[in-house]
Symmetry: C2
Subunit: 345 residues, 2 copies
Amino acid sequence: MKPENPTSRDIADIAGVSQATVSRALRNSPLVRKETRDRIHEIARELNYFVNRNAAGLRTQHSNTIALLLFDETDSEYPQINPFFLSMLGDITRAAANRGYDVLVSLQQLTDDWHIEYQASHRADGLILLGYGDYRKYREKLAALSDANTRFMIWGPIIRDQPGHSFGCDNENGGFQATRHLLDLGRRRIAFIGNVSHGSPELAARHDGYVRALEQAGSGKNPDLHVKAENSEQLGYDAAETLLERGVEFDAVFAASDLLAIGAMRALQHAGRRVPEDVSIVGFDDISLAAHVTPALTTVQQNSHDASEGLVSGVVGLIEGKTFESTLLAPKLVVRESCGSKTTR
Amino acid sequence: MKPENPTSRDIADIAGVSQATVSRALRNSPLVRKETRDRIHEIARELNYFVNRNAAGLRTQHSNTIALLLFDETDSEYPQINPFFLSMLGDITRAAANRGYDVLVSLQQLTDDWHIEYQASHRADGLILLGYGDYRKYREKLAALSDANTRFMIWGPIIRDQPGHSFGCDNENGGFQATRHLLDLGRRRIAFIGNVSHGSPELAARHDGYVRALEQAGSGKNPDLHVKAENSEQLGYDAAETLLERGVEFDAVFAASDLLAIGAMRALQHAGRRVPEDVSIVGFDDISLAAHVTPALTTVQQNSHDASEGLVSGVVGLIEGKTFESTLLAPKLVVRESCGSKTTR
DNA sequence: CTGAAAGCGCTTACAG
DNA sequence: CTGAAAGCGCTTACAG
């Protein structure tokens, strides 16, 4: 009686209509009489029938799926994914679900061949790229994606000549806000930890904001107060040690990411510097850890919900043939304890 | 010349063979002569051809995809996913990729209709359920999954009569190790924070281990030292306050999860109790936060890599028609600073 | 409003 | 080793 894996034909037989009518009814086509439609839905429910996505996808050439490519630079055997991206996963999945899309997750090594075949193989209608770093190294691969007519959104800064569409937050403004905050608290010798190479445009933009705030305050940038570092807690720790070893005076640190900031904070504390009394620290990202370190980290928040909405509506738009108009998300300074107040010292 | 969306027929035409031969060659069938195979692979690469997964899936009735259902009890608009599950996502994705499976992520509200249609719609060959809580409430839904012949693995304890297959860690042993550690440090009045209802069997098992360790040490459980709490940092905070309000003496806390432990630690610190000098604290899970709170939290680690391997090999086995023999993962005590040492006080 | 028919792009039993 | 053919389960233009 009840077929194990019912098809639309089974329903048609039971309902006494053609298979085509079943297909129309299940898609709520107004072409089908309401009573017929209702009866067919009823039977489908009883049989526990669900449209075979492979068949529908084959016919329509749509998978209603977005592939989320999470890039991961680490070489370790069991690498940790950047916590900010992980927190975006939930929001992206929800944003996609709201638009009728499933999310396929794929971890990619930057060095590997990317799975650009997600779209070519009709597993996904579009891609979202999270956490790919230095754009210069990957320009070619992005160009290949673009050439293959792949619909994709990159989470990151808008870069002239970069293939594809980017969506990101106003890093320059975030860097400005962070530095401005330190200046407002009376800090004058503000160190910067983070890379500013051409290939890390997000961090470079944060640095630009830092410089603008300094200049606005009438002081220029002091190169001795800049330590370069890739993004990890350990490297933040190392960077702060470098700073201490230089023997240069500083009363604040703006780290280009929370991981760097947290690492730097630990190094300073181990060296006997009090945070925030001796040194104020600001990070960037507002990862969940930020609120939990001691002292709680003041940082610049990128709203992962808005970011996810932007990325998903971006790809879905591209899939539907719309053009994407890039905008910048406004970052928000979250004041906690790591900077102290004017009267702290 | 180069077709936009090449099919196996395009390749066949170029290679001068039948479409069937192309299909065989691309699947590396030994039936095809090596030279023919190589030539076909070459042409496929040139055309940027990838097998249409919808077509292949329709034909073979396999999607080579696993759906990961992440349950989320919170009611808030933008709920945070349990960090332990988030950290498993990466491992699960890798484990699946190693076996040729993609991972489809779906967030589920426990109260909603679950997307049991993932398999019925041939979007996934099997499911992994993470973070579904009280099994009594969801027994019916699990039974429906089972009745629909869905292949699925639940991350959680093995429960008599529960439909489906479970894989989890030895929570009783973990609870024992945690309590034993506190006893070894000379703590005698050890509080327990967490639910022990029949519906939270994991936490109940941790509690069982706690009781066993106490009994082995010759003391029984003191009900005044038990505070019930669902799993969240705030509720851990509240639970510790409850404990303080009771005015009962205690020198240690075993919290059934890290979130509870971290919340409790904050409450105790705010109340002026020193951790670990006045009160030792152990948690459970080893979420990434645990190492970063002050003092760093001693906790029981569930190896997310092994957990993910077990879950993925479990579903893949079920998909391939194997039976699943459940085992328990051995938890591991990770000693940090929150318990102090024998000489701490 | 409904049905008969074509066809999406594969895989694989069958025949040679 | 290779090909011709069937068929997986849908969607949709066409005809009525």
